[in-house]
Subunit: 205 residues, 2 copies
DNA sequence: TAGATTGTTAATCGATTAACAATC
DNA sequence: TAGATTGTTAATCGATTAACAATC
């Protein structure tokens, strides 16, 4: 349950703190400080302390933060101290790649269903998942109580699919389609567009 | 050549404006307005006008913006009115997927070289590209004058590889490794981390 | 105790937005 | 001309940072 009114930009940094803590733990450390975290992340220590202060007091003056403890706290705040089942819509070029990607599973996001609307693809398999027709989405999403979608359909159909997903109770969309989606505020969308990212960098070249 | 001191966040929005213009053009439109763009992008029209004003005056009072003209201007500003050759380091699970992705090519970013350090992979092919040993990077990068890298190595080696790339003259890194890179300011890094993205969304679920 | 580092306040910095004169 | 929309200014809003008392 979101504590105060935490800015989205702060929430977006918490996963970075979390992964940095895991990294430090792997190095055998048990305690860290806002300064050490800041160095690793290219931020200021004040920002890290301020961000954490939205959620509670997790450190000790003079010594810093117990890594394992802070890690668990962040997992709790982010709701990632559990497994989330996710599904993918659009098994094209990109979708197929995403279905093969092991990083989701390795971090508690398990891909449990694939959908596409191309008759040729329906019934096909990617890994051990079968591609279902998009017409099966209402049933499967309800049965598996899915709330997180990965969207990898063409830009032209993304808005229509997103609307359908919202109607089916989806609350978070990781959107790989290069288009801004219009959805109700309760639905969160995160955009991943590597081409836009490259175009933003060539400006400086 | 960057005009004034344009905030990075503004530069980051230009690709979104560009792709929206392409979208509108595909719909047969020839003219648009800051208001129409704003609606499509979920921004305010004032922001769009302000952003564009960093670079010049591209519209006409009363009528708005000629789509094709503004598109060309933005391409010029972003330096994407040409083809860029890019290369990929790290041909694992994820790298392989990226190598197959056609979206780069389709938008003027041509993948021209693949590198990995696993002996088993060297000499192997992905599509019509051969995987080279990372030891060949200095030669290939110099020969092909490459300045844009896509980094898809494990988090543990990302920093070391990034430093090597910087030494070889790379100026832009699209980083898929879940770690913050420390590089000189002249080198631009863009981070893509779908797991962090999902973790930022589950906060709200 | 002395040194270190937190959590928090207040100041600063930067980005967004409202408003409107200019003008097509 | 009347209506529409730009480019820009100034106000507002929000995020970052510096500073420091509290305290381990």
């Amino acid at each position: 349950m979101p504590q105060k009114n935490v800015p989205a930009i702060v929430v977006g940094r918490l996963p970075l703190y979390l992964r940095t803590l895991q990294f430090l733990k792997n190095e055998g450390k048990r305690v860290t400080s806002s300064q050490e975290l800041a160095e690793r992340l290219g931020l200021t220590s004040a920002q890290i302390r301020k961000d954490l202060s939205y959620f509670g007091e997790f450190g000790k003056q003079g010594t810093g933060y117990a890594i394992e403890f802070l890690e668990e706290q962040l997992r709790g705040i982010l709701n990632v101290n559990r497994q989330w089942n996710v599904f993918l819509v659009g098994v094209g070029d990109l979708g197929r790649a995403l279905a093969h990607y092991r990083g989701f599973q390795a971090n508690g996001f398990r891909l449990v269903a694939l959908f596409d609307n191309a008759p040729k693809k329906i019934g096909g398999k990617v890994g051990d998942l079968t591609i279902h027709d998009t017409s099966a989405m209402p049933r499967v999403i309800a049965e598996k109580k899915l709330r997180i979608a990965i969207l990898a359909v063409p830009a032209e159909s993304a808005q229509a699919v997103a609307e359908q997903l919202v109607g089916l109770g989806v609350r978070a969309i990781l959107n790989y389609a290069p288009v801004t989606l219009s959805v109700p505020p309760k639905v969160k969308v995160y955009y991943i567009d590597p081409v836009a990212a490259l175009q933003g960098m060539t400006y400086y070249l």
